[in-house]
């Protein structure tokens, strides 16, 4: 890397050059076959992903938005604001199903059997004249990773016949050592109760199912900590994953 411009390639790919630097680097690209060939190779990287069929109706939605953009330049921003606002629980439940983020098969099977009724509810609720649905509320949330933690997770909460069922699934977890466990907590006004613990599999995935028969209402937060040992009634370790949940759900 003798040419100082070649050094800017990664900034260019990262989109972090300012306007002038961008122009200069583009001029460099035209002159430097090596940088250009590296850029070309990145065009093949998407084929590392598994092929995914496009969303239903996606093409017309996107093309409409693209051509609409011409006449109403603000529409994209408006659309974004709309989508950024919190989705009602019903929508969240639907999203949870549609994208099926439950990697371990066991967790998936458990969720499906557990949610037999909830799923029927979800199916029915799509039809305006559906008969009265059973009393099942279902919410899924993506857990937010704390700084410097690389794992991801999802939680599903199901209120059914006076019980609260909780399923947490996480992946890309850092391996535990010694007696360490990942501990799940439900919190109400900052007060936690332990709701199951797990250790990651060899694939760095983990899942835990927990059912509460009493005190099922009003939880506002779900968190996962990395505890030095199993069985703590108060968290001692750092929070690695967490999310706000809807106390009304």
């Amino acid at each position: 890397m003798t040419n100082v411009n070649c050094d800017q390639l990664i900034d260019y790919l990262n989109g972090t050059l300012n306007e002038q630097e961008q122009k200069q680097f583009e001029a460099h690209l035209a002159e430097c076959p090596e940088c250009r060939e590296i850029v070309d190779a990145t065009g093949e990287l998407p084929y590392l992903a598994d092929p995914v069929e496009p969303n239903t109706g996606m093409k017309s939605r996107i093309l409409d938005a693209v051509f609409d953009e011409e006449e109403h330049p603000a529409s994209l921003a408006e659309e974004r604001t709309k989508r950024d606002s919190p989705a009602p629980p019903a929508t969240m439940a639907k999203r949870g199903f549609r994208t099926s983020k439950w990697t371990p098969l066991v967790a998936a099977a458990l969720l499906v059997s557990l949610l037999g009724n909830a799923y029927a509810f979800y199916e029915l609720s799509d039809q305006p004249d559906a008969p009265a649905a059973p009393e099942v509320a279902f919410e899924t949330v993506d857990l937010q990773a704390s700084e410097a933690f690389e794992g991801t997770g999802t939680a599903a909460l199901v209120h059914e016949e006076g019980a609260l069922n909780l399923l947490v699934q996480a992946n890309q977890l850092e391996p535990t050592s010694g007696d360490q466990v990942y501990q799940v907590w439900l919190l109400k006004d900052g007060q936690p109760i332990p709701t199951g613990a797990f250790t990651p599999s060899q694939e760095n995935e983990g899942a835990v199912f927990f059912s509460l028969d009493e005190n099922t209402e009003g939880w506002d937060t779900i968190a996962v900590t990395l505890e030095p040992n199993r069985g703590n009634t108060m968290p001692q370790g750092e929070i690695v994953l967490s999310a706000a949940i809807d106390p009304e759900a």
């Binding site: 972090t16 990145t42 093949e44 092929p51 995914v52 950024d84 993506d142």
Partner: protein, 192 residues
Amino acid sequence: MEKISDALLYERVRGKDKDALEELYDRYEKMLFSYLCKMTGDRDLAEEALQEVFVKVWRGVGSYDESKGKFVAWLVTMSRNAAVDLIRKQKKPSVPLDEIAEVESTDSSVEETAEWQEKSEQIHQAVRHLSEEQQKMVHLFYFKGYTHETIAEKCGIPLGTVKSRIRLALKKLKTSLQMVQEGGVLDDKREL
């Protein structure tokens, strides 16, 4: 009939030819959407990112010409950066959705699948020639939605080092990909 090149289609897009944009969209919808799904772990977010890319193409933001390399590479860079921005705005951890492909029904033509398979085999083969560290750099930069700053922070490596590692990884990827594409049997022991 000879297929019109991407660059030529893009020229027409610049002249506000809607059909040309649609043709480009059709060519790269599945590839970019698959990539964006893997990166964001969210079909809705992937669609949003893809929409931003084509809005930019249509509006001529950061215009393309052949001196910047292949059109598809330019699209991939825009897609990556659109997704990185959206992930950051939503503060949404990326989740791998490997199972999507199995869950969804496929109605793709045999031809497309065959092309995908060939491309996929080539890039997978090429990536195998990267060291573990280099594969990690490519993964973090292109599939985790991390900027080079984030990689530096998370891995505790100086930014300059991260940049040169990503560059070196991509350079090696380029070389091994070229060899795979030329049909040369790649000797695993050969130093690239």
